[in-house]
């Protein structure tokens, strides 16, 4: 069995700071990590490999330094890693990204038939959840998004049964492999990488594919050129026209501050007070 896991290297969003005056992102010193949602996909792939055998290949589109993210995945137990990197990919939106990644997955399939493609639910920097479905459509794979559990995999009959998170419940879906699964977060726990794996990963020769090696046929479909969406502006949030009524516990006792706030909100919003009293009466 050959499983391909698509990952992305992202800035650790918890550490992103915005310059207060210029509203530009201060990237300096922000560590790059494997998109946390992708780790649930990788762990699920590794579990299938533990159970059924086979090979897990991790693939990533990004700048040369994204090699680190792939090595991290090797340390967790992935067998092979491919970095799809080319200057012409720059500025890609989700449509152009799914085109490039689909081409690269197809290329991997020429080396060894791919049974399952995994992606994370979404990334933490783009938060779109669009690339997974995009890859599936381009490769004609059955699409299973927001999968919370793989209930059954029958390789003899090329069939798979999963539980999929839906609004108000869980769908139980049975489909055929090859398929693409986007894995829901919190569904498993990433294993620890033993020291010997980390040493192996550090030395692992991650394969680097430019657009030709990735089998890109139509260069008008990648990068900025292949992106229908245009970012017209980036800006900071607007403060409310009326500033908050500020009080500080340095100027008054907390008790006075609390009394003051409660009195103000209930005077301005009598219905709110009625609602709270009604609830308290129950």
């Amino acid at each position: 069995m050959h499983i391909v896991v698509c990952i992305k290297q992202v800035p650790d969003s918890a550490q992103i700071r915005v310059h207060p005056v210029t509203n530009t992102i201060m990237r300096q010193g922000v560590p790059a990590i494997v998109n946390p949602y992708d780790l649930f996909a990788l762990e699920e792939a590794l579990r299938l490999k533990d159970k059924f055998g086979g090979k897990v290949t991790v693939i990533c589109m990004g700048p040369p330094q994204a090699e680190d993210a792939l090595k991290k995945c090797i340390s967790f137990g992935a067998d092979d890693a491919v970095l799809v990197t080319d200057r012409s990919f720059a500025g890609a939106d989700t449509l152009a990204t799914s085109y490039a990644l689909a081409a690269a997955v197809r290329q991997l399939g020429r080396e060894q038939k791919v049974d399952i493609v995994f992606t994370g639910k979404q990334t933490i920097d783009g938060d779109t959840a669009q690339v997974g479905p995009g890859i599936a459509k381009r490769l004609g794979l059955q699409l299973l998004t927001y999968v919370s559990r793989i209930a059954d995999l029958d390789l003899e009959h090329d069939s798979i049964t999963v539980e999929r998170r839906a609004e108000g419940g869980v769908q139980v879906l049975k489909t055929a492999v090859p398929c693409l699964i986007t894995m829901l977060e919190g569904t498993n726990e990433m294993r620890f990488a033993p020291l010997e794996n980390m040493i192996h990963a550090a030395r692992y020769p991650v394969r680097k594919w430019n657009k030709e090696a990735a089998g890109i046929e139509d260069v008008t479909k990648i990068g900025l050129k292949g992106s229908p969406t245009v970012v017209s502006k980036v800006f900071g949030p607007t403060p409310r026209a009326e500033k908050a009524l500020m009080q500080s516990v340095e100027d008054a006792t907390p008790r006075d501050v609390a009394l003051n706030v409660i009195q103000k909100i209930f005077t301005q919003h009598p219905t709110l007070e009625r609602d709270i009293l009604a609830k308290a009466a129950v």
Partner: protein, 365 residues
């Protein structure tokens, strides 16, 4: 608005940003009406409210798209769609459309778009809407903007200007699809205000067919296991929410949030870092990657107010913020700000609320 670099979209990298002649025929605004077990998802009505404004600005019509099984109440859902502003509903009834599956829904939506050519298609950013939107946009090779917090028509280009948080929720960006049609966008539930229903409004049904049979479809829906409602947190529709952030320092201090919530009969919310630290369940997360809420009262304690959190709660009627830093961004959009340590202020606030409620209840009795 504090824009960093106000710039017009420029044709970089040899990219065409003009709408080609053959796409100029695309007219009208569509909303995908999501329904499940006989009931439409309220996000669809919220989208019709927004779609109505967009259609009016453009001077075009607003339509709903409803797909489902022949035994599902699609006509009743269409009627409801008219009451929220749709003038027409495109309906595909087919047994294979009972229960959402990607393949038949993608085909149905894609065929309708190709046949009737709308310029804008909006979907809810739910597990169904996102699954469908990503598939349809790829099949049609057009632009899709996820999780928008504001939708407008750009006066210069008449294109959809879709604003969403970016960079993990630290800034906002406006995205347009200029040279492709339709322009697609998803919006999360509760981000847009629910429009008022006017049941006197009527509309037209346009029936279409899917052209697919069950044996064409590889994926089978074996079962649907409904969530148990008994212990479900209904944050999105709570009237009062007390939320805590990392300013509370540790899970023990977070109990102060529960104490205040109990007195107010409120739900408990939290920021992403709090959820990631495991202090509360993920279903209590408020913000871009959590729930969007519109309570009557939102109390934010130890929360700095990053955009990621802000977009999830700024629709609250009254926001009280408690933070030690007088320059915290939360004070830019709160109504009442208390500069102080949440661990010190919360217990006092809880007691004062409790006394106030007790006193007023006695008076009422």
């Amino acid at each position: 608005m504090s824009e960093a670099e106000p710039k017009k979209p420029a044709a970089r990298g040899g990219r065409n940003l003009e709408l080609p002649e053959h796409l100029k025929a695309y007219k009208g605004v569509w909303v995908f009406i999501e329904h499940d077990r006989g009931e439409a998802h309220s996000v669809s009505w919220e989208l019709l409210g927004e779609g109505r404004k967009l259609a009016d600005t453009l001077g075009v019509s607003l339509s709903g798209v409803i797909m489902g099984g022949p035994d599902e109440p699609l006509d009743a859902i269409a009627k409801e769609a008219y009451s929220f502003g749709a003038e027409a509903c495109y309906i595909i009834r087919d047994p294979v459309l009972k229960g959402y599956r990607n393949e038949p829904f993608t085909k149905g939506m894609t065929d309708l778009v190709n046949k009737y050519q709308p310029e804008i298609v909006l979907l809810g950013a739910t597990t169904m809407g996102r699954d469908l939107a990503g598939s349809v946009a790829t099949t049609l090779a057009t632009g899709l903007t996820a999780d928008c917090t504001e939708l407008r028509i750009d006066p210069a280009t008449r294109a959809l200007a879709a604003t969403r948080p970016t960079f993990g929720g630290s800034l906002l960006c406006t995205i347009m699809t200029l040279a492709y049609r339709p322009q697609m966008a998803t919006v999360r539930p509760r981000v847009m205000r629910m429009p008022d229903a006017d049941t006197t409004r009527t509309g037209t049904i346009i029936e279409d067919s899917l052209g697919m049979i069950e044996t064409d479809i590889v994926t089978k829906l074996l079962d649907f296991i409904a969530d148990e409602n008994s212990n479900k947190v209904n944050l999105a529709y709570a009237d009062i929410i007390v939320s805590g952030g990392k300013g509370l320092k540790n899970p023990d201090n977070f109990k102060l949030i529960w104490d205040l919530a109990k007195v107010l009969g409120a739900e408990v919310g939290a920021t992403r870092p709090v959820v990631q630290s495991g202090w509360v369940d993920a279903e209590r997360q408020v913000g871009q990657t959590g729930k969007t809420v519109r309570p009557k009262l939102y109390i934010a304690a130890g929360i700095s107010g990053a955009i990621q959190h802000r977009v999830g709660m700024e629709g609250a009627d009254v926001i009280i913020a408690i933070n030690t830093d007088p320059n915290a961004p939360i004070f830019d959009f709160a109504h009442h700000g208390i500069v102080g340590n949440a661990m010190q202020v919360l217990p006092v606030l809880t007691d004062t609320f409790r006394e106030h409620i007790a006193m007023r209840s006695r008076k009422a009795a």
